[in-house]
Every structure is written in C-alpha cells, then in structure tokens.
C-alpha cells in the first residue's frame, strides 16, 4: 500500500551505530537507510549489507569501492 521501503526496513539504533566499526580498517560506520547498507567512512570504504534486519559485518561479504558501478 505504498509504504516506502525505508520505513519497512528495520531501524539500526543510534546506540549500535555509535559502537559499530569496520571489521577491516576499524573506521567509523555510517548507516544508509535507503539502501540498507552500513558504510565504512574510514580508510577502506567497504559497504556491509543488512539482511533480515541483521547487519552482516563480514569483510568477505562487503562490497569494496572497486565493486561500484
């Protein structure tokens, strides 16, 4: 019924965002709600998926900047 995807998706709490770090470079993490990604804003810029509301913070499953189209 036209509910935007961003409001259907589970929220990532500010508390969690405060302590989340990139598992690869330990850089800070920013939440992209629209794309349901957790993005490293440190050195490596990896992008971690959120599946079923659960962040997948695995280096091997992240997109790297070179994957970008």
């Amino acid at each position: 019924m036209g509910v935007p995807l961003s409001t259907q998706a589970q929220e990532i709490s500010n508390e969690l965002l405060e302590i989340l770090a990139c598992p690869a470079c330990k850089g800070d993490i920013e939440y992209n709600q629209e794309n349901q990604k957790l993005i490293c804003i440190g050195q490596c810029r990896r992008r971690y998926p959120i599946r079923g509301g659960i962040p997948v913070m695995l280096i091997g499953e992240a997109e790297t900047p070179t994957d970008e189209t």
Binding site: I19, P23, K26, I59
Partner: protein, 260 residues
C-alpha cells in the same frame, strides 16, 4: 571466506535447530559459572561472541543493560532472534561477525562472553586480541570452552575425535595453553573453574545429520582406544548398548588492566 569459515557456516547452518534444542548449550552449568564470574549489576554493556542460538546472551540479558550478540552463521542468529522474541527479551541485538575481526570500536563493552565456541575459531590469539581491544579498561572477559587434558597424546586424540565428528572443529587446547594465550594478550586471570559439560549419550552426539554410519563407527572405535585409566578424564559411563561421556570444560574470568 576462507575454508574454515565456510566449514563453520555450513556446519552450523545445517545444525542450527540441533543447537537450539541442545541441553548442553542451553542448560549447561557453565552458564551459571559465567554469570557468577561476571557479577552483573544491571548497567553493563555486554558482547557475546559466537552466540550460536543465543543461550549465553539470554542468560545475561535480564541482568545487564544491553547485549550485543554476534555469530558467523546467519542461520544461527535467525534461531537466536526467534528464541529471544519468544522469551520477550528486547535488549539484545544481533550481528553477523567473525570473532577474529570484530566490527566494534575500541573500549565499547564492559563484559565480553564467549561460551563453548573458540574450538571452532581459526585464529584464537587474534580472537583474544580483538576481545581485549573492544573491552573498556578494567572490563571483564568471561569464557568457557571444551578443553583437552594436559597430555600431548590425549590432545591429539580428542582433536582427532572432534574433527571426525564435526569437520568445522579447529582445535581444542588444554587449560595451560589457554592461560598462556589469555595472559599473553594482556589480561589478568582472576578465576578459573574446571568442570565437565553434561553427560551426553554417544549415539546422540555422534550420529548427527551428515555423519555416515561408517563415520560413527570410526568415532566409536576411537573411544575404544582409550585406556581404562583415561576413561574418567572424559567421565565415560558404559551401559548396555550405549555409553555416555563429557568433555572437560575450562571456565575463565580475566580482566583487562585499568591503566591501558
């Protein structure tokens, strides 16, 4: 993903329901030992590493401010999340993460727990170093794992048996090596408890999906290699047509220095 991580995820994806129903994992007395070690006051931020289907996280959640629970295997976390919902626990969140590359800022937690899991970790020193990093100064690390006796021959035997039964098993250490690695990371050990997990019927333990009857026979034959005087180390109790045993368990309470 490397081979060990793949093996662990494959193993635990197939067996998430088994772990959700396992009495060793849900009711083991080592859960109580961990809570006693930690003496939670209600204000703690806790990280439970390799939470599996969540039993350690569930034991702590009502006693602390918040629990962050991680595991390598999404299927285990799906079970954990469902069980947390059934129990009405709302102060737990879940992340898929590797114990050797934790996705958290330095000094984020008051307490890190890890129960009956490190024998699946590929790099235990790296896991300990990551645990130390994410703890606040003065924070506690409380861990339980199945361990081997202090005997080179039995260390080899137990790891061979465990790998025969479960190819995601990496290595079980004796307590002396745990002590060395934990202190080598910069922790001070404050308490240790040596116990056994609950007695398990051999056939229930060995005969899990994916293990052929031939594989189960090989594991049973390995148990027959034990000398009679070695059997009490594994609490072996024989009954007609079945035997029961338990692995030795090492519970340790270690503190990060307040001055780091």
């Amino acid at each position: 993903m490397d081979q060990i991580h793949d093996a662990v995820r494959q193993q635990f994806s197939q067996h998430a329901e088994y772990y959700a129903q396992s009495k060793v994992h849900s009711e083991g007395e080592t859960l109580g030992v961990l809570v006693d070690f930690a003496e939670p006051t209600g204000t703690e931020k806790v990280l439970d590493i390799a939470t599996g289907t969540g039993f350690t996280a569930f034991a702590f959640a009502p006693k602390v401010a918040h629990v962050t629970a991680t595991d390598l295997t999404p299927a285990m976390l799906d079970q954990a999340e469902a069980l947390a919902g059934e129990r009405g626990l709302q102060n737990i969140d879940f992340q898929v993460a590797s114990a050797e590359a934790l996705p958290f800022e330095d000094e984020s937690f008051d307490l890190v727990t890890c129960r009956i899991a490190p024998h699946h970790f590929r790099e235990v020193p790296q896991f300990l170093s990551e645990t130390h990093r994410v703890l606040r100064p003065g924070g506690l690390f409380c861990m339980v794992d199945s361990v081997c006796p202090e005997s080179e021959q039995l260390i080899e035997w137990q790891n061979r048996v465990e790998k025969l039964r479960d190819h995601s098993h990496v290595w079980g250490y004796p307590p002396s090596q745990w002590r060395e690695m934990i202190e080598g990371t910069g922790f001070t050990i404050e308490n240790e408890v040596h116990t056994h997990n609950a007695l398990q019927p051999f056939s229930w333990w060995a005969d899990r999906p994916g293990n052929s009857p031939e594989r189960v026979r090989q594991i049973r034959a390995a148990f027959d290699e034990l000398a009679p005087e070695e059997e009490p180390i594994f609490a072996i109790r024989r009954e007609t047509g079945e035997f029961y045993f338990a692995w030795p368990m090492y519970c340790v309470k270690a503190r990060k220095s307040t001055s780091s």
